[in-house]
Amino acid sequence: MTEYAIILISTIWVNNFVLVKFLGLCPFMGVSRKLETAMGMALATTFVLTLSSVCSYLVNEYILAPLDLVYLRTIMFILVIAVVVQFTEMVVHKTSPLLYNVLGIFLPLITTNCAVLGVALLNVQEQHGFLQSAFYGFGASMGFSLVLVLFAGLRERIAVTDVPDVFQGNAIALITAGIMSLAFMGFVGLVN
């Protein structure tokens, strides 16, 4: 049990995907203008990351490894993730219009997110088992969500402050992200 707790703590704070590993930066900058959209994106990412890390583990373990085709990992993972996301989108659209309204527009966006592929590949690299993969994906997305929501909150505040002309817009956002990243460096060494 502690093992899974450690995976979660590690992925959320210590090895945060956005601020420490610098993956998934485009949604981090792109959808963080409003707290509301950031939350939608965070939810959708949590969903997709967990699902895709489980699926890619299964594909790697039961299709690629027995056939000795591990070098096809990248293309295979892209294929699997894209299909799974697309399929889920259709099912959600049919079964739950409410959920679709919340996640709908974000789901296809995340498919091409480097964090998603990154988690799948890192799972293989770290030789995680099934549950470990699931927790790793979930933790990574929780870390992403945490940072995205925090950052969106910061940006909403920044939007109404008196920022010097040269720093306005994305410049101040990037500086803020850098400072957040520095802050997260403080967790280094907490767990591995």
Partner: protein, 186 residues
């Protein structure tokens, strides 16, 4: 040999996924709101965005949910508005000024059979686009006519008619820049 396995595996899996998605798109097909469909069918599908929605379908959805009035469609004009009012059982509303049809360029044409050659229209024309002399048949130089219609009221026999100009490659002009002059300060 191993490359063959790789190719076959990838193709088979891709084909399976393709089938799965194809099946899912039929099985999980979502029927749109039938009212939206009907409204959408009445709209002109020019996707011009003049209603401030990003296309005809979003506008149809907005009408269906009661967020938008039915009189925002300039290309559809009054006909569409009346059809929508009929479909939805609401009172027809006059087209919004802002969303009224863009004025098409018109010129006037003199019905030469009726013209009595009174020269009143020649005097009224600000751009000297009417040619003629007293007791002689008049005619309009279409290229010069600005469509101001000032010549119509003075005509005693009502022989001047407004006709729209068809835009052809020869007559097409770049649109004039929008003029947003601030109101003169008092």
């Amino acid at each position: 040999m191993s490359i063959l396995i790789a190719v076959v595996t990838l193709s088979v899996i891709a084909a399976l996924f393709g089938l799965l998605l194809g099946y899912a798109s039929i099985k999980f097909r979502v029927e749109g709101d039938p009212v939206v469909e009907k409204i959408d069918a009445l709209l002109p599908q020019t996707q011009c965005g003049q209603c401030s929605f990003p296309g005809c379908r979003p506008y149809a959805e907005a009408i269906a949910s009661g967020e938008a009035p039915i009189n925002l469609c300039p290309p559809g004009g009054e006909t569409t508005m009346l059809a929508l009012a009929d479909l939805l059982g609401v009172e027809p509303v006059a087209l919004d000024d802002e969303h009224d049809t863009e004025p098409t360029k018109t010129v006037v044409v003199i019905d030469e059979q009726t013209c009595i050659g009174c020269t009143l229209c020649i005097q009224a024309c600000p751009v000297d686009a009417i040619l003629g002399a007293a007791k002689q048949m008049h005619t309009v130089i279409a290229d010069e006519c600005t469509g101001c219609n000032l010549c119509i009221p003075p005509c005693p026999v009502d022989c001047i008619h407004i006709t729209p100009v068809k835009v052809e490659p020869d007559t097409w002009r770049w649109p004039l820049p929008e003029q947003n002059f601030a109101a003169p300060r008092a």
